[in-house]
Amino acid sequence: MQNVTPVTIAELKTACQAAKAEGCRLVTLSCAELDAETVDIIYHFDKDLSLKHYRLTAKKCEPVPSISDIYFAALLVENEIQDLFGLSFSGLVVDYKQTLYLEAEVRKTPFCKYSVAIANKA
């Protein structure tokens, strides 16, 4: 994977605004768990068929600012990450509150390997 720029939570929104001003199309966000406390969120942008990526390493307990007010297309994928990883996005245009895919009876946040163990300890 080439063309990856690391960003912090504070820089995220300005970086996305800059990408939009450059005429980039938001392709999607990918989320992957790193360890018990952090996840990687990768923002994929496309311009003239070449990709660039922003990598945000976020703590699971801290809310991530939503970019759905800049790119409306981020709406579904941010809700999906809320469902699957248990992160929370602040300022979502439409917040499904972790019910986009999953019903209440399903184990929450299936993509977090560590969350169950932490809950048991507490």
């Binding site: 199309r25 990918s30 992957a32 994929h44 297309a73």
Partner: protein, 358 residues
Amino acid sequence: MARTIIPFGPQHPVLPEPLHLKLVLEDEIVQEALPAVGYVHRGLEKLTEIRDFNQMVQIVERVCGICSMIHAQCYCQGLEEMLGITAPPRARYLRTIWSELHRMHSHLLWLGLFADGMGFESQFMQCWKIRERIMDVNEATTGNRVIVSVNVVGGVRRDLNDGQLRWIGSILDQVEAELKALKKPLIDDYTVKKRTVGKGVLTAEQVYELGAAGPTLRASGVAQDMRMTRYAAFDELVFTPVVETEGDCHARLKVRYRELLASIDIVRAAMRALPEGELAVAVKDKPAGEIVTRVEQPRGELLYYLKASGKKNLDRVRIRTPTFANIPPLLAMLPGVELADVPVVVLSIDPCISCTER
């Protein structure tokens, strides 16, 4: 009149799949649409924890039965890049042939469903009759009509011999003739135009900003097709994207119809230039690293994000399918549309819900 909320789906006659939309109406006009999904969500990205990277090929094929071959192609292509191997030339050409055949059967299926959504049942039957010829090719060359399962990491599993190539050529001639005969009663028809022209219009700026993919994007005049990134055999074949500019349902119909004819030409060219040689290279290493790879599915751009750390199981498989990207544009198309036109507009993005939710 006061606002009414009408539920559309999840079980709806024009939709073969469960999609639920809450339509906020004022009189007959849609003001706002809200999607509710999750009826088909299986969680198969997570299966990578119990299936190894070779077995995952069979899982990703079942993300979507309509474009299964292209899912597997994208996944294998990503893993090959990660492993630092390239599929042999013959395999890349064969992948192109099968993927274009898949695009044709998918577009014919959609043409039929779209006609049925307008109440044009005889065209539904006609399109599906033509489609059966492609299904015959799939079955005869791969052993299954739908889930063809020809891809492996490193190449393909099946070959086409000269007799089969000639036979496919003759089938394509028939399909081409039948498709050309379809133009007048389907594309140029007065009633079809009445139902589709000017419905669900989006401008080029709007679709681009909303992140649309595939025919939805190209029908508004944005010439983006992942086949322009020259994957598989497209580095040697001539390819020009099909673009229309009106941005309405009729333009999306025309894009798919013209892509059908373009696919026939691509398959013919690939069959003519099919190189001799191996079908697959051996995979010796375990994958490690991060990769993003894209191909063009019938519905648009398909993106796979793969992450591995040298084990036999991948750490993360993330699939972004084109319908997932086309739902925000759909929500922007619906306001202002009459309730009776909602099925046509919804179908115009060619929704594939099992792709969207995985």
